[in-house]
Symmetry: D2
Subunit: 330 residues, 4 copies
Amino acid sequence: MNKKIRAAIIGANGYAGAEVVRLLYSHPSAEPAVVTSRAHAGKPVSDVICGMPDKMIFKDADAPEIRECDVAFVALPQTVGASLVGELIDRGVKVIDLSADYRFDDVSLYERTYGVTHPRPDLSKHAVYGLCEHNRKAIASAKLVANPGCYVTSALLPLLPLAKKGLISDVIIDAKSGTSGAGRKSDEAYSFCTVDESFRAYGVFSHRHAPEISEKLGCGVLFTPHLLPIKRGILSTIYFKVKDRDAALSALKTHYDGENFVKYSDALPQISQAAYTNNCVFSARFDGEYGIIVSVIDNLLKGAAGQAVQNMNIMFGLDEAAGLPRVAPV
Amino acid sequence: MNKKIRAAIIGANGYAGAEVVRLLYSHPSAEPAVVTSRAHAGKPVSDVICGMPDKMIFKDADAPEIRECDVAFVALPQTVGASLVGELIDRGVKVIDLSADYRFDDVSLYERTYGVTHPRPDLSKHAVYGLCEHNRKAIASAKLVANPGCYVTSALLPLLPLAKKGLISDVIIDAKSGTSGAGRKSDEAYSFCTVDESFRAYGVFSHRHAPEISEKLGCGVLFTPHLLPIKRGILSTIYFKVKDRDAALSALKTHYDGENFVKYSDALPQISQAAYTNNCVFSARFDGEYGIIVSVIDNLLKGAAGQAVQNMNIMFGLDEAAGLPRVAPV
Amino acid sequence: MNKKIRAAIIGANGYAGAEVVRLLYSHPSAEPAVVTSRAHAGKPVSDVICGMPDKMIFKDADAPEIRECDVAFVALPQTVGASLVGELIDRGVKVIDLSADYRFDDVSLYERTYGVTHPRPDLSKHAVYGLCEHNRKAIASAKLVANPGCYVTSALLPLLPLAKKGLISDVIIDAKSGTSGAGRKSDEAYSFCTVDESFRAYGVFSHRHAPEISEKLGCGVLFTPHLLPIKRGILSTIYFKVKDRDAALSALKTHYDGENFVKYSDALPQISQAAYTNNCVFSARFDGEYGIIVSVIDNLLKGAAGQAVQNMNIMFGLDEAAGLPRVAPV
Amino acid sequence: MNKKIRAAIIGANGYAGAEVVRLLYSHPSAEPAVVTSRAHAGKPVSDVICGMPDKMIFKDADAPEIRECDVAFVALPQTVGASLVGELIDRGVKVIDLSADYRFDDVSLYERTYGVTHPRPDLSKHAVYGLCEHNRKAIASAKLVANPGCYVTSALLPLLPLAKKGLISDVIIDAKSGTSGAGRKSDEAYSFCTVDESFRAYGVFSHRHAPEISEKLGCGVLFTPHLLPIKRGILSTIYFKVKDRDAALSALKTHYDGENFVKYSDALPQISQAAYTNNCVFSARFDGEYGIIVSVIDNLLKGAAGQAVQNMNIMFGLDEAAGLPRVAPV
């Protein structure tokens, strides 16, 4: 048996980083060799990620072992990991960045969107946007992959086949996400008593995933996110005007033929079909000039850690589906 | 002290009917004098509506006592109560019908929408549409009030002030409802394990509340309902093109000045602000030619039983807010 | 019409205080005249308690208006309000204290249990324990009522009729509470993603309600609380050895005859029967020498704010049930 | 690479059967070769188990292909599969039965407990009780393994090390299970609106898992199950009198040293630590003569499908942990 790919997970206290660790722990060809958390350095990883071996200990984010890994998953807040990414690439460590730092072609759009100055704008042009099903070839040879946003993934997968053919306009995305999308929080706004049995919109006209969707789609969109009282999953309801209904439906039904994780469904999907899997399932309905797509993913898997591992599989020439769940639990 | 208004609640096994009973039980000027349920006739009401006095017994829907009441709340499936309504009115019993039977001005639209033949189309022209804040005068003198649909109420309250001034077009309503909106169910699709930690759209381009909204608004709308994993509450996210932004915002902010239950909020509302109250709270945001309204109600109160009791209060000249909760619980 | 009782609610940002405000807002004979919160002083009460009139403003806890009220509900952390309580009583303001400060007959037990020094141990002997159904006469003439703990109420109501007759021993209380019992929190341990779809025990052999139960019951108990992924409600499963089964069952079935809020049920109760009401519902089963009682309340109503208002009703000679919900919502 | 073990899953429409299919789909050495459901025969498995390949079709329970499998997981209601089990064994197909049919040493106790006549009492003596960590050797050579009940597993794993040494008496098990434990249901009692935000006890003094626990433990127990408003997981709070506290704690801490899935934890565990894994985590506290254990599992994995696959791994000499999740998701 070949040696396993050694992966570092930087920022594994966050939900996305923790899910990368979990996926790699049962991956047939890779392993979570170095797991870091500033807050928990020196403590057992199992304190945060239940079921991990007790002897595995959180390292600090500047642990030298990271540099000896084959790949690093960087799951740090925007800008915090940007320079580390450069350092790792120089050392020959492939990087999959789960932050937004390298997602944008237009660095100034990134800076306006996130209200920051990019510490390493020079690297941006080398980064490959890691929407696996649309960018496989570039991902396969990339040193740096920018893992897409969760809402963005739920919207782009069904919309890109239509947008590329110029079939749609007037796109409105009404998206709903489970609360893990907000990250690990000590905040009354995300307390159980606030979120449970409630539901709310936020970031109306101002959410940071809107410019990412627009740049990748090549057209403006209205995007409104909402907070669901569930742990995991995104459902996006997408409204648009359609130019050629038959062509649109045909594109949606056939574009992902043969894909492992992206699937058109005749029935409207629900979040439980995608939760705890790396799948995106979507369906469409048309009426007159209007089309509606409903699309579901798990925000932490296809929307973050799962797509990141899928990117790793592509970068290392592995079976793209290795270590990634496809069957939804009860 | 004056004698209390004697109310019959027909179909009190359903969630909306049960909530009417609950509200009337603590109403200062009315009482649930006769409570019917075909399925539970002869059993204590407290078997279904916990906390009701043990000695109160469910009657059958044709119990003669109904005809001696001052008012009847008819909460039966479409068409089932339509003839009883006629009989009660003839007897001088005021009727508030919670079904869709008498909501439509255009009976043929009702028949197409619900796929039924209306048993008493003749009564339709006498029915008053019970959207309290917009129809007070007619309600006050009505013999028959058609209580609006839950989704409809959440959408019409913020939209009517704009539509009446011709300020909006291209209306898309993306609505999300708690599961009690589906009624009391023995159905795997509404089982805990199916609904919990999930979320889905349904009735895309085909929900029966769309024609009701369109008729009352005077223009077509796209309407997509979704099922939330919560018991109670609706949040509608409403997209539209706006003609005069300042006029629109002003209309939204001032139209309901002095109202008990309808309120513009600067902050985006969430469902927990309206749940277990008779309130509708909404807020708006504008960007370029687009406007977005977020509106919340409790589907069983302002969306059903609460509005029904508010209608009763108006019909009998009581304080319109009597017996209706305004302060949201924790 | 008589003038309404003017109530001050001190510490209305907390869940219990907020619920007192909500109950009094629709109380027929009392009103929330002064509402305080250190954190929110100067802001509208409706920012925290949705649906309250916008013009009502949070005062600070030392606002002079408090001293002109007829009654004060003190809902502050242990020891914080103890001196204020003394001051108010001296001024002739009746006090209902929702903290544990005045619940114990044995002040040193209180101090050991809560790890504090009691600021006003002298007042303790004047305090009346506000378990309404067991202490009505003393409450009616009390200046200071110590409102019982939530878990304590769920256990004492079914157990006291048995303990007073010496019918039980070896009492084990396995109690489960909704998350609002932990109070308003900005703490990852009470975040939605931590609590949802989970369940845990805490305070094993060490919870502060155990000594309160033991003191009032007159015997030691094993008490284990658990955290339920729901907002409101407590269910206590109580195991004991029974001396005379028939006498025990008879005591449970008849002790609360004629009570408004406490009821024996033949069927095992569930939390939804008590949530949003001031009711306690319990049932019992026996097998050989063992008995099991299942008891439910709403932790914020019968377990806190509801019982507090019930105490107020008794202290002012009102209908004991005034302003308190008895019928459970859907 | 060796040929994969071919498994039949009989009754895969149920939650436990569906989870066996899901686990085997990603198992490195086995595959779900035949998947049956009477209700869905002829339809794609992916209609029920989302993400399964579309071309896999449900067979009927008497499909001849079952007899050519290496192993069959029988997940049918009590008695329904008992004769099929005999037939399969005769054909040389190893059987793991997830029903209670073959769990009891004392067939008459089984018959009294389930109120049935056992169709094949003769096979009972050949069945091995599949509590993996306590019966490995017998399981390894068994033709028929009776997979333990979910509640039973959560209780026996921590209790057996104590009971075998005679360290405990007066055992009371207060157990709480997620709603999937009740199975796939079209029943108002398990509807979302009934279960959500509620909690209840059931089967007081009468649940069918009590005799199973007693038989395996060798002493009587009080057992009370409760229904949690979550999808998956069991937490059992276990009260007992302890004879030698140090010996008991030592037994709990060391008995499962080196085990993959069973672990003593110093901190009290919560359900989310075990959900979606095959783990059992427990902790203990002592005070005077009393001990309290808190134990968590996933009812569908270690409590059903996971333990069943673990049994298969043992029966076929595979790595016992193969294909079984150990790391809990966020």
